[in-house]
């Protein structure tokens, strides 16, 4: 029996919604200067009795029943939790990736940067923030209706001054007007595909249903303290009752004698990805001049530029967790089984890499004998069969926002006209297991030059183009052709550069209360 999520008042709203109707947003990276003042502010944010009243609060999923004009969300780096007095052994029981961070000496020694493609121009040594010297303690995310952000941000930053210094304000581009399509700086429709969280525990993971691709994913993949896709509980800090004397935290589901600091929280991956908009459109229009690069750009992404519809026609088969909205079915009601040669959507297209839409075993349901033969590997269909692992263990909720200029008419930047302002996206992913979800997707799928049997190409949009290993190029993009030989485009320049990144813990409201009560150093 899978647990139903009920504690919506304990879950930060970002897990539930991307706040699309709040057009303005900014992300503040803070460092704690006075831990006591900082904690007092957190107490106010979660409306602790006795705390100073604030005119805003941390928005939880329960608030989202009614329209919110402004939203504040709060996340911590390991450094932040340490500076707020969380004990080192508690910190050490968070996931190792979070504990060590995405960059820094240890991450480089261990090869994390190498695995994530954060080498060459993407190397942490080139980052504007997120390196050990520019590592924030706290991430404060502010969202507001059009015209409302400036005042909101001013109010928040005034209150922050006592306990924090602001090391960076990540200002986002204004999101689309209501009714308009949300786009990222290259002009693609953004945020189309998301896993659907199984809030009500309606699905038992690991049954024969998973022989078909599904988009309804166990809550435990995105929320600590609940069963994940293995039916297990992801490792997280479980405390002894003596470590939580005020009884603030909830009991751990699988170990009720312990208190769960992770429950209803998750990890947040933030990466600032700068996009070379004119470089991108110049390149594709030079390679495909017949339509100013549109078809090539679409092949690289795997979706139509104008509508965001997949190049692959949606299948008629129902996919669990897609729909019932007709637009969702049109945009996500498909797998790649209908395009085994990659003729419609190239194997290297971004959407194939970001979510290969694979089930637990290729071939779906075909009866018991066939199942056994395939499970034992005694029946395989060709060299590409079964190269990509099951998608359900590697899904991300994305909550990114663009920054800089989001172009409406790409013609204006084609042929060398630079908008004169840097643009990009603040990539934000939520997941309960950074190594199995974000890092796996980035490593095994996005930057892997050998993904799905290919050779010498990485993600056409995100790739760093650094030869690997040694001199082997990774800067190609192949378009399979019905006539035989692939159309191979070599020498793709780097279009997207990492400018900063960090791993955060997005705690539950209980956990924020708990952190606010820590009396460690500070």
């Amino acid at each position: 029996m899978v647990e139903t999520v009920t504690e919506y008042e304990d879950i930060q709203g970002l897990l539930y919604a991307g706040y699309g109707s709040l057009e303005e947003a900014s992300f503040l990276l803070l460092r704690v200067t006075n831990a006591a003042e900082a904690k007092a502010w957190f107490a106010g944010l979660v409306e602790e009795p006795g705390a100073e009243k604030l005119s805003y609060h941390v928005t939880h999923a329960g608030h989202l029943d009614s329209h919110q004009e402004q939203v504040l969300q709060l996340a911590f780096t390991a450094r932040g939790l340490r500076n707020l007095g969380l004990l080192e052994d508690v910190l050490g029981s968070f996931s190792r990736e979070f504990y060590l961070g995405i960059a820094g000496a240890e991450a480089e020694v261990e090869g994390r940067s190498r695995r994530l493609g954060d080498i060459g121009n993407n190397a942490p040594s080139n980052w504007e923030w997120g390196t050990p010297t520019e590592m924030p303690d706290i991430l404060v995310m502010l969202y507001a209706e059009a015209g409302g952000l400036a005042a909101f941000q001013q109010m928040v930053t005034a209150d922050l001054a006592l306990g924090f210094e602001i090391i960076r304000i990540l200002a986002t581009a204004k999101a689309a007007e209501p009714g308009e399509t949300r786009r990222e700086p290259f002009g693609f429709v953004d945020g189309i595909s998301q896993p659907q969280i199984d809030w009500d525990g309606t699905r038992e993971p690991g049954t024969s249903d998973d022989l078909d691709y599904g988009n309804l994913i166990a809550a435990g993949e995105f929320l600590l303290g609940y069963q994940n896709e293995y039916g297990l509980y992801t490792q997280r800090p479980l405390l002894e009752p003596s470590q939580d004397p005020e009884n603030i935290l909830a009991p751990a589901a699988e170990s009720p004698g312990q208190r769960d600091l992770g429950r209803n929280g998750t990890y947040l991956v933030l990466r600032q990805l700068e996009q070379d908009v004119s470089g991108f459109w110049n390149f594709v229009s030079e390679k495909s001049p017949e339509d100013n690069g549109t078809s090539l750009a679409q092949a690289m992404l795997g979706r139509n530029l104008t509508t965001g519809d997949p190049l692959i026609t949606a299948s008629r088969a129902e996919i669990r967790g897609v729909g019932p909205d007709a637009g969702d079915i049109r945009q996500n009601g498909f797998t790649y089984e209908s395009d085994p040669e990659g003729l419609t959507c190239p194997f290297g297209a971004h959407i194939r890499r970001a979510n290969p839409r694979t089930a637990d075993m290729p071939g779906g349901r075909q009866g018991v004998i066939s199942f056994l033969l395939r499970a034992l590997g005694l029946k395989q269909d060709g060299p590409r069969d079964d190269l990509i692992s099951s998608s359900r263990f590697h899904r991300l909720i994305r909550r990114g926002r663009p920054y800089g200029v989001v172009i409406d008419h790409r013609e204006s930047v084609v042929h060398g006209e630079s908008p004169g302002i840097t643009s990009g996206i603040y990539f934000i992913a939520l997941n309960a297991n950074i190594s199995r979800q974000f890092e796996f997707v980035q490593n095994a799928w996005i930057v892997n030059a050998k993904f799905n049997g290919m050779d010498g190409e990485t993600d056409p949009l995100l790739g760093n183009r650094v030869p690997f290993p040694a001199e082997n190029p990774t800067d190609a993009f192949c378009l399979p052709q019905p006539s035989g030989p692939n159309r191979r485009i070599a020498g793709l320049p780097q279009f997207i550069t990492v400018r900063g990144a960090a791993y955060f813990f997005l705690p539950s409201l209980r956990a924020i209360r708990f952190i606010a009560r820590q009396n460690g150093k500070g």
Binding site: R96, E106, V109, E110, G111, R112, R114, R115, Y230, L232, T234, Q235, E341, D360, M361, R374, A375, L376, G377, L378, Q380, P383, D386, L387, S389, S390, F393, S435, R436, E439, F440, N443, A444, N448, A449, K450, G453, D455, F468, P469, A470, N472, P480, Q481, P482, S483, G484, P485, N486, R487, R488
Partner: protein, 440 residues
């Protein structure tokens, strides 16, 4: 595979010496002066690894009498090669004698003036089970076919991609004929292999014949009686086995100590410098006869079955393992697993957990600290994070690792082989030619 105990206290010196062979962390310089791996044409992979077991204390959970605190620290020298291993060992003794003597001088009982080959032979350990991704595919073939692929893609790039496929193929065949590269003809399957295959077929036929014999020769009633007796004979030991198995599975201690930071750092530093990584794992078996006999039988079956069931391209559903071996050490008190695999360690583990957890449970389930299994096949590796912790804790950083064809994955190698076959085939259909061209 040579395994020799290191002279106590000299481990650090030995490590320092081994590290001089590397061009970057954990990766050997192919022409390093100590053991120039790159000059051995039949060698696919090789490694030197110090078998320093940090998990010996786990045995304490089984009681004081089972402790193995005086377990030696070994130096292991492993290679995966074409042809008989002993021939390669002789070649090593012949052409890398000076370097090997320097290295093995750190091992107990090494006589600097003695016969190196004899010494290595006397320290050779035969794996109980081995796996080869593609039986009979040689280093030379892999390298030549990679060169061929590169040449063909250059030739193809100069041709119009919309030309008729048949004409393109003809042009490509001509280009290779005129400008190369030259390919060494594939060696025929060795006679011993053909004999072995024949024996398998005969054994299978005999087994089926024996199983059907009562029906063929006896009346229905008598046949059922014979089967019944046979079943009882089979059922008794099976029942005894199951009782023991379940007792162990429900009462044996599970050790969930996570790997230390320093250990993970040492492992991580060596990983992902190439598209292929090495994996070396060392651990103790649970004390008692049960775990050793169970493992012995399972490993024997694995060794027997894999070349028949999985001779080409995949081990069950796993397509990323080049070579693997399962080795008993210290009179079956400890075991070693060594493999070479494509992709990151996280991806390798996910493949294990998601695709072949039953196989891991069978072959490693009797190890000390292994996550709890159910009826040998279930549980265990299906406990994702517990399993990943156990395997990382038992993993050893290999001081020196060599791969004969950097940058090539098994998928690349298989594709290059298909490209070569397409070049050499006398006839191909239009569809086959299109498919072939799309792979170049």
């Amino acid at each position: 595979m040579v395994v020799a105990p290191i002279v106590p206290g000299r481990e650090i010196e030995l490590r320092d010496l081994l590290l001089t062979m590397n061009r970057r962390p954990g990766t050997a310089e192919p022409n390093n002066p100590l053991v120039p791996f790159g000059t051995f044409d039949t060698l696919h992979f090789a490694r030197f690894v110090i078998l320093n077991d940090s998990t010996l204390d786990d045995l304490k959970a089984f009681g004081p009498e089972t402790e193995f605190s005086d377990a030696p620290i070994y130096l292991a020298f492993l290679g995966d090669c074409d042809g008989p291993a002993d021939e390669l060992l002789a070649d090593f003794a012949n052409r890398a004698a000076e370097g090997l003597r320097k290295i093995f001088a750190f091992c107990e009982g090494f006589d600097p003036n003695g016969d190196l080959l004899e010494w290595m032979r006397s320290r050779s350990v035969k794996p109980s089970a081995t796996y080869v991704n593609w039986i009979g595919r040689t280093v030379r073939q892999i390298r030549e076919e990679a060169v061929l692929h590169e040449a063909l893609s250059k030739y193809l790039a100069a041709l119009p991609i919309n030309g008729p496929p048949r004409d393109l193929r003809r042009e490509l065949i001509r280009a290779v004929h005129d400008k190369g590269p030259q390919l060494t003809p594939e060696a025929p399957t060795p006679f011993s292999w053909q004999i072995r295959r024949l024996l398998y077929v005969l054994a299978a036929a005999l087994a089926i014949y024996l199983a059907l014999l009562p029906i063929l020769k006896l009346s229905i009633g008598m046949a059922l009686f014979v089967y019944g007796v046979f079943l009882i004979f089979l059922a008794t030991p099976l029942a005894i086995f199951l009782v023991h198995l379940r007792r162990h599975e429900t009462t044996d201690p599970v050790i969930l100590t996570p790997p230390s930071d320093a250990h993970l750092r040492a492992l991580g530093a060596l990983q992902d410098h190439d598209v292929t990584n090495q994996y070396t794992a060392l651990g103790s078996f649970k004390p008692g006869v049960f775990s050793r006999w169970t493992t012995t039988i399972i490993w024997w079956l694995v060794n027997l079955a894999t070349p028949v069931l999985y001779p080409r391209g995949h081990l069950a559903r796993i397509k990323t393992i080049h070579f693997a071996r399962w080795v008993f050490l210290d009179g079956k008190r400890r075991g070693l697993f060594a493999s070479n695999y494509d992709g990151s360690s996280e991806a390798y583990m996910d493949d294990f957990v998601n695709k072949v957890s039953f196989g891991l449970n069978l072959t490693f389930g009797q190890g000390v600290g292994y996550p709890r299994t159910h009826f040998l096949l279930w549980g265990g590796a299906q406990r994702e994070q517990e399993f990943k912790n156990v395997q990382r804790r038992h993993a050893l950083p290999a001081e020196v690792w060599y791969k004969a064809y950097p940058g090539l994955t098994l998928v690349d190698i298989a594709r290059n082989a298909r490209i070569r076959q397409g070049l050499e085939r006398s006839t191909m259909t239009e569809t086959e030619i299109r498919q072939w061209l799309s792979e170049i």
